[in-house]
Symmetry: C2
């Protein structure tokens, strides 16, 4: 059998090193990365210029044809080399991007990443720590524990174990021992791939807490609540209508009463996908408590309002939840992924504990090697926490609050422009940064047509929402660098597209 | 309510742009990234020098203390700025890494990423495409479709729709229309966060194929098979003992006969985590067919042998599976994450189809906007495929085959050194790149102690495996740049640590 593998393992000292520049890690990795990163930056620059706007023009077929031309055989017999592959494929992906850094790319909860976060993420790629055992991520696993506990304390400031922190005591940069381990009391959080996985974990923890737990959510809840129940083999959620766009505590009470005392999980939303509305969390928490129901809050969108002293009051009641979905790849300007599930007491995460002898054998754990496998349902796991840690430290709470406030201010300004004119109907004043509107007197077909027209021409990326039986445009502002002139330009483009008639 | 958001949205033309350098995307993003990437590379270089080996010395507490000192308050009131935050946190994570680019870091399926892949990944972070709708990832979604189909054809070369490709017809770089859509017949694959999620999807597809599907797997199967069954609300897997380290087709037949015709999913492994053993796939496929059972193969480790003409025969029978876990963050040298689930016919993925009106409304899909939501259980999703596409094109099949062959050759060489000496007992000749051995005549306590000793001193990262009732060292070689001298040095360190006696 050995002969099968008699491959070209080379001996030391056999001439110039053919592996120079091969790997991203080690002492030689940065030197290998430097010229390749230069190629990537040039391709990104060229792609943005060639695109010349928020997205490529021509629609799906035109974009696909350019990608196919650049990709060639996808897996050729002989490679073209690193520089050529980076130049062509990064170039075509940049030219064909819907770039959220462009102010008129504003459809989805799809944020433009901060440069500092994207730069930090390179270190995750180069070092490749994997978060499933200490001996694959010694420093990154400690950093994750610190960041998770700090973000959980932001969500649950009054929970046992959340007080008496350096930050809370006014010593902003004091470093000190943090005795909390994974099993310690006090707020904690898990890193997830986003709001969807965090909601899934919230439902899973509820499923494990009692037999036959029924999920109760609003019609305004994210689709991942339904998909998670399906994935986890739970009954489909009981859906409470939300004619006002938010979950009514009284209606939740009626739904819970109808379950006759069966164990249940109420899912509320702090920042809906369609309108950015925040459910009345305090009232819902009270009803849930009265019926003995567990409460999960999906704050994937609204959670970062907590950074702002002026805005955090909008989330009053959040701290009563048993679990909270929190996400920094929306109003936190991180490259995907940067999701979290926060809980008021890390001990409630015990149902996720898991043993695999090669990763967390009992004698290793007893000897002091941290057991990390219970912190995710994934095994191998990228240290997404590094970019988050760097961002929190670079901007501080005040810097993040400023970005959140500017983004919300832009939405208020756009809503004002919509409401002041005669061409549009505004759905409601934005609660976070989503502006929903439609043509005054226009029909659904016009809304859909204008949106696709702007998309195919590469002029603007608008979203859509079905509300009250009608179709609306949705502008989700997540770009803190947007200017008032951008907002006026967006409305002008929409008006022009409306006037063109119904021809495709 | 508007007053609440009267934040500092600035007017255009109000002096120098305070947002210059803020965002990673747009035409100005590369210029913002350039100096920050310089800071990151310097911190990586410094960290590697300070570490001076495969991992930091001192064990968990010493590493944690250095991280806490660098992280400070984690979320300070005022930020320290991008450069300072990058310098301190990237530096401490690099200094405290278990770096798989160091040859003596060889415990786990934890690969050193290629520089070209890590560089490409920067573009994913900067542009932040999200793969859940076309209007968040116009070009990246087409690239994903191309790469997924090409990798699936590598796994299922004989499936309908897999032939008549430019590559197969000897035109290595010919670009041409690829008519296969997500619903088209022919091999296809989904991008996952790794082998664990791919196994989970394999079980989910089986669960949805019939009522009460029972999973049958070997004792050598990855722990994620069991965890996935729990997650999905399925019965715990029926475990077939594997005293020889691989699944015996006859034993699988006995297990299936015992189920009395109930629907079942057999899970086989091509490259076990403990020893890199490959189950006899052809024989298992035959037994599964005879009993009408579905077959999933976890080839997270062994799958890339398919790149090599000399080694792909080791996976004969793989093409009979209903689904295959394939992973390029092991023997594919990608930064995490780069997992795939491959299927012989894309239509079997239909149970994952899902509708969310804001992402894939019926009229948009009819108008030609691709519907991407059914390609993952995640919603927001990073374009992990970009780094994979760049790597495939840069190295080609021959380049990847060469790296796989060199890595396997290194394992054969290490096994030879172990077998030739008198101090060690070799578990078996490696089938892929895992070498399992123990001290001749030594006990389990010695194995555990030597491993932790080398770990705490920062000298080497060895893995562990419990096999045949005894504890073994496991060396998982995934570094294609390893030299024969590195292998000898590893064994010398182990011998020295063995001689030190039992004191901690």
């Amino acid at each position: 059998m050995t002969a099968l593998f008699a491959g070209p393992l080379r001996a030391a000292g056999s001439g110039p090193d053919p592996d120079a520049g091969l790997l991203a890690g080690g002492a030689a990795g940065p030197a290998a990365l430097r010229p390749l990163l230069g190629t990537v930056l040039e391709a990104l620059e060229r792609g943005a210029v060639e695109r010349g706007g928020p997205l490529p023009c021509g629609g799906p077929e035109a974009v696909a044809a350019r990608v196919r031309a650049a990709a060639g055989a996808v897996l050729p017999r002989e490679g073209v080399g690193a520089a050529a592959a980076l130049d062509s494929l990064v170039g075509v992906v940049a030219e064909g991007a819907a770039d959220p850094a462009e102010p008129l790319c504003a459809a989805h909860l799809h944020c433009p990443p901060l440069a500092v976060a994207a730069a930090a993420d390179v270190a995750a790629s180069a070092l490749n720590p994997s978060m499933d055992s200490w001996d694959q991520a010694p420093a990154a696993s400690e950093l994750e524990a610190l960041v998770c506990r700090e973000l959980a304390r932001l969500v649950f400031p009054g929970a046992a174990g959340a007080e008496d922190r350096p930050e809370a005591s006014g010593r902003p940069d004091a470093a000190g021992p943090d005795a909390a381990g994974p099993d310690a009391a006090g707020p904690d959080a898990l890193v997830t791939t986003g709001g969807t996985e965090a909601n899934q974990l919230g439902l899973l923890l509820a499923r494990e807490s009692a037999r036959g737990v029924r999920v109760v959510c609003g019609a305004n809840a994210h689709h991942s609540v339904h998909r998670s129940a399906w994935l986890l083999g739970m009954e489909p959620p009981l859906v409470v209508p939300t004619p006002q766009g938010v979950l009514d505590p009284a209606a939740v009470g009626v739904a819970l009463a109808g379950l006759g005392g069966a164990p249940s999980l109420v899912v509320a939303t702090a920042g809906t996908t369609d309108t950015g509305a925040v459910d009345p969390l305090g009232g819902i928490a009270g009803v849930a408590r009265r019926f003995g129901a567990r409460l999960h809050v999906d704050a994937a969108y609204g959670g970062p309002l907590l950074f702002s002293e002026g805005l955090r009051g909008r989330l009053a009641g959040l701290e009563h939840a048993a679990s909270v979905t929190f996400d920094l790849h929306k109003l936190g300007w991180q490259p995907v992924a940067a999701g979290f599930l926060a809980v008021p007491d890390g001990r409630v995460l015990r149902p996720l504990e898991h043993c695999a002898d090669y990763l967390n054998a009992g004698d290793d754990t007893e000897a002091g090697l941290p057991d990390l496998l219970g912190r995710s349902l994934r095994t191998t796991r990228r240290p997404d926490v590094l970019k988050v840690a760097v961002t929190l430290r670079a901007l501080g709470r005040a810097g993040l609050a400023g970005l959140v406030e500017r983004t919300c201010a832009a939405a208020a300004e756009l809503a004002g422009l919509v409401a002041d004119g005669e061409r549009f109907e505004l759905y409601a004043r934005p609660e976070i940064s989503t502006v929903v509107f439609r043509p005054a007197g226009g029909d659904d077909a016009l809304v859909a047509r204008v949106r696709r027209r702007l998309l195919e021409r590469g002029q603007a990326v608008l979203g859509r929402a079905s509300l009250g039986g009608r179709l609306w445009w949705k502008v989700t502002l997540l770009n803190p660098a947007v200017l008032p002139g951008d907002l006026a330009a967006l409305l002008k483009l929409v008006e022009e597209a409306m006037e063109e008639g119904s021809g495709a």
